[in-house]
Amino acid sequence: MHIPDGYLSPTTVAVSYAAALPLWVYGFRRLKATLDEETLPKLGAVTALSFVVMMFNIPIPGGTSGHAVGAALIAILFGPWVAAVAVSLVLLIQAVVFADGGISAFALNSLAMGYLGAFVGYGVFRALRRYRWAPFVAGWSSLVASSVLIAVVLGIQPIFWSAGGKPLYFPFGLEITIPALVGEHMLIFGVVEGIFTYAAYRFLTAKDRVEEPA
């Protein structure tokens, strides 16, 4: 889901940066307010965990692969604003250091995997928190929501930005991007994200047998 450079029209890039900027500024303020001696190591570890989890490429039939993101897990533990900024930081490092995801697409990637993923994951978890499996559904919905936004923005590129019948940027329309991207995330990667969110949440919030002294 990491959109590379060259896939989005300049207008799309401009709109996505304009939309992301205020969200980054406000989210960063929330992140700063959350950081203290207690949360710094936890938030650092769980953000680094999101980076590492995205390196586990899972192959699926059809010659493609995908991975979990971890936005829902961070959102459940630290709130959606903090999670969205944390995932944005991960995406920034991936784009700048590893050329994974384009700089021009960084805003859209952050909006999809960071903001939408975190808020959907958080909302679903809150709504279902009475149930033991809430983190699973939260993780699944979070990743599927991210894939919907990416699929729609990619899919409208050939509609609006073509010249002489030839697409200038991402060439495949909604009729291809929606089933391919949303489909694979509903059937496979969303399930992986759900299992990851569930297992990590259970593990991280379990009481240690020997209580640490307060």
Binding site: M55, A99, S104
Partner: protein
């Protein structure tokens, strides 16, 4: 409780070469040549976007093997992110 965060991070970082079991790209994250094969041409914007220059492109370390490069990339990413958090934390405490 804090310990569990580090255990989980350490465990997944140690297992990170499992991510190399496939070299299939994610859907849509193709090499530009893929478009020539499928469409007969490479869309202008995609052709124009030059390969981004990155220190560790695609999680490889120049001169290192695939697995060690992937390990080192994971470690570099983890340390960078922890470093960024520490800097923000210092900034907050001073402010």
């Amino acid at each position: 409780m804090k310990r569990r965060y580090w255990i989980l991070l350490g465990l997944l970082t140690a297992l990170v070469p499992l991510g190399l079991l496939t070299d299939a790209p994610a859907w849509g994250e193709w090499d530009p040549e893929h478009y020539r094969k499928v469409l007969g041409f490479i869309p202008e914007g995609i052709a124009r976007a030059s390969e981004a220059k990155a220190p560790l492109p695609d999680y490889t370390v120049p001169g290192l093997g695939e697995i060690s490069g992937y390990y080192l990339s994971a470690l570099a990413g983890v340390l960078l992110l922890l470093g960024i958090y520490y800097l923000i934390y210092r900034m907050v405490r001073r402010g």
